[in-house]
Structure formats: C-alpha cells, structure tokens
C-alpha cells in the first residue's frame, strides 16, 4: 500500500541574528525554544515567532558561566541529550540569597530533562505526570508512586540569570512559588503559578556522573553540606547493624550456653588453715600439688574466713609444678561488726582466667595484725567455673557499634533538616523521624 503523504523534510537547525547586537544565535531546541538568550550581549529574545523580539536586556555583571557548557552532549540512560538552557535561581531566607543552577537538556525525540546543582549537589529532574496526593499535618506529606515525601521547604524562587534556550517563556526576575518534599534520593517539587501546580521529580546524583556524562574537564566541585535529598550514607545501616548485633548476641548466647553446660565446675582443692599473726617464724607455706584438668579455662580461688573485727592479707602464687610458671595475686579480707552495722566480707573469691591444664600448687603468704586475734580460713580451688558477667560485658561491647551508627545516621538527618522549614530554630515542630 503506497503512502500517499509527502514525508516532511529533515528538521533543520536554525540560527538567528540578535536584533540587539547582530551576533549569531544558534538555536538547538528547534521550534520548541520559546526563549533564547544572546550569549554575546545577554538579550533575552522571544523566539516563539519568526519575528524575534527582545524581551529583556540582562546586565553584564549578572553573567554567570555554566559548569556544564551549553551545547555539551552526553548519554543518560541510553539517550543522548544536549545542554540547551541554563538559569540561576535563588531564594532569600532571612536576607541571605541562596542560589542554584538549572540546566535544560534536550533530545528531539525524548524531550526535555533538567539538571540542578546547588553547591556540588546534583539532581536529574523529570516532569511528573501523575497527581501526587497531599497529606495534611503539622508537617505535610505527599504520596507519589507508593513513596511518601516529607515537606522540606516552601520558598519563592527568583530567576537571577538565564542563558541559552528554554521551551517556555522566561526572563530574569520571574518568581515562582515552590515546595520541596523529600524522600532521599528523590525530591518531589511543586511549582505553583496562578494557573497550575507543576510537579517534577529530582533524583540525587554524584557530580562525577555529570562530569562523565558530558565529558567535562577536571573534577566536579565537592559537595558542601547536606542536601535536601542527599542519600544518608548510613541509610539502612542502623537496622543492618542491629540485625548483626542480634546475630552476634545469639552467637554469644550459644557460646555461653555451651560453656555453662560443659563447664567442669570441679572442686580441685580444699584445705583449712589457722593463722595466728602473733606467732613468730615463717608464716608462708605451700599447698600439696593438685591437678587442673580439661581445656585451658579459669580457676576460682575462694578464701572463707571466720574474721570478726579483724583482717588478713593473703599473698597467693599459683605455681605450675612442672614449669615453675607463677601467677601472683593478693587478697585482703576484713570484717568488722558493731552488732548492727557490718563492714567488709569474711569471704573472698577471685577468678584467674585462662589457666592451662597441669599440676599446680599454691604458695600462700598470710599477713595480719599481731595485736588482733587468730583467724581460721579455708582455701578452696575450683576449676572451670562459668561466669555470666563475661557474657554481659561482651553483650555491652557488641552494642557500641550499632549505637555509633544510629547516632551518625541521626546526626546526618539533623544537618539535612537544619536547612528546612522545620529546623529547631523555626516555629514548626522538628523532624519526627
């Protein structure tokens, strides 16, 4: 079947002669461009009709240089786009002007996309066709495509400078009311004019992506501060850290249970001694050899006395009978009572960790006050006594990293929201996250 229509010729690019300075203006957006700016004299031109007219003359001192030059081409998600327009917009907050740049990028089949940059933070912005759903509240939200966005800021954005071409009418000084709603890495923006609310969706990207895409020289500027939809580098880490913590705690519990079940809890030595501090002569003595069996584990040395308003100091050495290796430790035991109040403890227990199996004896060196009475005491040596305190200590140590991550995550959000309408300094309530 023949095609009766005459195919249209290739759409030609066109160039204009600036009605102000006569300079050549290359039009990159074909008939879509309604506004173009003369790069030479900064005249803003109405290009919607063949008779180009001057809308505005921008003061030379307002000139800015786009970081991504007009005419740059690059591939985003498989589509080649050309940078055709650039504008700087700004908002004034308490007398301070905050400015950011916006780029219009174009493909004659796929249409227009936008790139924004604020202090090294980049976003690729697309028009949104569905109608987001408002959720009123002290901090309004919108739901779009199954995602909830929190209101961040309401501001009136003013165009401070324009260059290149735009598929709409634009000039310096134009103001648009805008609202940003964030759900990193996305930001949903509503621009409100008298006629209409226009929504767009920005996605946070690294400057390196922009540099790679458009093959720019040098390096992208380092981002300053935290941006409205910058992904929290710790996002998802707290829950991950807590999952890991749970795993470790479970492992610790199993290990502890294993030790509790398999511990020998063996009484290896028990001997009663009498100590009279007033006696003359050598007071130190050695115990008979006892055997510590099983794996390397702890040894508990208990001293039970009948001290009453008295004290005893015991220098101990646990000595390996075969190697001579000695572990020294000293215990002070005192107990005082006036009938109602007591002070001290008659009994003492100390744990020596990681003692290898072998044949051992104790060297005991008691000391006391010769003016006080004598003391009866039992030395009890027990092998491999499980200790729940270790479990608690280990559990506490394991808790530290997740707490640090939680704090970092929280701190990042604090810094982000400090720039919003909901910072602690403003009248609205803070972040309820």
């Amino acid at each position: 079947m023949g095609s009766p229509n005459i195919p249209l010729p290739t759409v030609k690019t066109r160039s204009l002669s600036c009605p102000n300075c006569g300079g050549t203006i290359q039009i990159r957006g074909f008939a879509h461009s309604l506004t173009a700016v003369c790069q030479n004299c900064l005249s803003v031109l109405d290009t919607s009709t063949p008779e180009v007219s001057i809308i505005q003359q921008i003061e030379a001192k307002l000139r800015r240089t786009p970081k991504v030059p007009l005419g740059s081409r690059g591939k985003l998600e498989g589509t080649t786009y050309e940078v055709i327009g650039f504008q700087t917009r700004g908002i004034s907050v308490e007398g301070v002007l905050y400015e950011w740049d916006e780029y219009v990028i174009f493909n004659p089949y796929k249409g227009f996309l936008y790139i924004t940059e604020y202090q090294g933070h980049w976003n690729i912005v697309r028009p949104v066709r569905a109608l987001p759903q408002y959720q009123e509240g002290s901090k309004p939200k919108v739901i779009h495509d199954g995602r909830t966005y929190k209101h961040f800021q309401n501001a009136t954005a003013r165009t401070e400078f324009v260059l290149g071409e735009f598929p709409w009418r634009l000039k310096v000084g134009e103001e648009i009311k805008s609202d940003d709603y964030t759900s990193p890495p996305y930001v949903l923006s509503a621009e409100t004019t008298a006629d209409e609310v226009t929504w767009s969706l920005g996605e946070y990207v690294g400057g390196d992506l922009i540099w790679r895409t458009f093959q720019l020289k040098d390096k992208p500027p380092s981002p300053v501060g935290t941006y409205v939809n910058q992904p929290n580098p710790n996002a998802g880490k707290p829950s991950g850290a807590f999952r890991l913590l749970m795993l470790f705690l479970a492992g610790l519990l199993v290990l502890t249970a294993f030790f509790l079940v398999t511990a020998r809890r063996e009484n290896v030595f028990n001997e009663r001694h009498h100590f009279a501090p007033a006696d003359l002569g050598e007071k130190s003595f050695v115990t008979p050899i006892f055997e510590l069996k099983g794996r390397t584990s702890n040894v508990v040395v208990e001293t039970k006395t009948d001290a009453m308003n008295n004290w005893i100091s015991l220098g101990y050495a646990l000595i390996n009978a075969d190697t001579g290796t000695a572990l020294n430790f000293a215990r002070e035991i005192s107990f005082y009572s006036d009938g109602s109040d007591t002070e001290g403890n008659r009994n003492d227990s100390t744990t020596i960790p990681s003692v290898p199996p072998g044949r051992y004896y104790l060297l005991v060196d008691p000391e006391g006050d010769a003016k006080l009475g004598s003391i009866e005491y039992d030395i009890i040596v027990r092998r491999d006594v499980p200790n729940v305190a270790f479990f608690l200590l280990a559990a506490f140590a394991l808790l530290i990293p997740p707490l640090v991550i939680v704090w970092r995550t929280y701190h990042f959000e604090q810094v982000r929201w400090r720039e919003s309408d909901y910072s602690s300094g403003s009248s609205s309530s803070g972040d309820d996250d």
């Binding site: 309604l34 249409g111 569905a130």
Partner: protein, 212 residues
C-alpha cells in the same frame, strides 16, 4: 483497511483515504480542507501556513500501543501561551480512532470516552474539581485557552474554522490523563495516559539535523 481514492475538488490532485470513517481530510498539494459528504468531497476552507513544527511525528508514522498497531493519519494544531502542540489522529488496525498529543515532547495517548454525565461548563471546572470516569478518580489540574491553528490529514469529525478552544486537563493519582475539550457542544471527553516515547516503537519518524 480500505483506501478510497477521490480527487481534490479544488486542484484535482488524488486524495487517498486511509481510514474509511474519515470525515475530513486536507489536500496535500493545495492545502484545501475537504469534507466528505456521502461520495463527494467539498472544499470548506484552506489551511493557513502551519507554524514551524518540531514534532518527531508526521502523517504516516506508525507505532504500537500495547499490542495494537496504529498509523498517524491526521492532526490538529493548537497554539497557546507556551507555544503550540499537536493532537495527532491515530487510526488503529482494528478501525478504532485515537489521539496522540505531543506537547513539547510530552506524549499522551487518549481515546474519546463517554462521560456518563453532563460535563460542567468550562468556567466551573476549576483546578481541583474532582471527576470520576470508569471508576478512576480524576482532578482538574489546569484550564488552557488554546487557539486553533490548523489541521492536516484525516480526522473523525469536521474540524476547521475554529477560533479559541478551552481545554480542561485532568489527572489521576495513578498517572491517568484526561481532557475535557470545549470545542464542541456538549464538550468532548478524552481519557488516556502519558506514554513513553520508546515504548511506542514508532517508525517513519522525522529526522533532525545533527541528530542522526
């Protein structure tokens, strides 16, 4: 697909109809607007010079919507405050008629729909006004005053010599799209959705200098 051949009553050039149900067409040679009355063609007007147009679509472009193939057979061009846009008239291979609107390369595909109710007057469909069509909730988002600029090719109705036309755009939360078209009485309803250019798998597109 039937193809009838007639001659332009103005210049005698052959006029091919791609769509048996077409009511109006234009002569590609002398730009006469021709309305089909029974077996005859009557010249009702002439298309003024069309504004420069950079739509990648042209009459003869073919594509797919889901698994239904279509051919672009006509268009209506409107001007508004922010430029112009095209309503491309589509003929589907099952004989159905649809519309692909290209507003600065934002594409919506829609079909005429029965509103099942009397549509409000243009002035009372302010932004925010809710509507329900076919179980989907829509809200009016913008009212646009457009100026009829021209026609080309085959259309399902007589459409020429219009001046200002009011449109009310409708959006749903699920991304559906609608338009109330006040060019006729009672107004017409079109329901559809935004479409991804890539997914339409269009052939016979226009070419752009520097973009091959």
């Amino acid at each position: 697909m039937s193809q009838r051949v007639a001659n332009c009553p103005n210049c005698g050039a052959p006029i091919n109809f791609r769509w048996s149900a077409a009511v109006q067409t234009t002569c590609e040679y002398c730009h006469s607007i021709l309305v089909r009355t029974d077996l005859d063609l009557t010249k009702v007007g002439e298309v003024a010079e069309l504004p420069p147009n950079s739509s990648p679509i042209q009459i003869g472009t073919e594509g797919l919507y889901g698994n239904k193939a279509f051919t672009v057979i006509g268009r209506i061009i409107y001007d508004w405050e922010q430029g112009s846009w095209n309503e491309w008239h589509l003929m589907f291979n099952d004989g159905a008629s649809g519309w692909l609107s290209d507003a600065q390369l934002e594409f919506d595909l829609s079909f005429t729909a029965d509103p099942g109710m009397a549509l409000p007057e243009a002035g009372s469909a302010q932004p925010g006004t809710p509507f329900e069509f076919n179980g989907t909730q829509y809200w009016a988002t913008v009212q646009t005053l457009a100026h009829y600029r021209g026609v080309e090719g085959e259309l399902p109705f007589e459409f020429w010599d219009k001046s200002d036309v009011v449109f009310v755009d409708l959006r749903s939360r699920t991304g559906k799209f609608g338009t109330i078209d006040y060019s006729d009485t009672p107004p017409l309803l079109f329901l559809g959705e935004p479409v991804d250019f890539e997914k339409l798998k269009l052939k016979n597109l226009r070419e752009f200098e520097g973009w091959v």
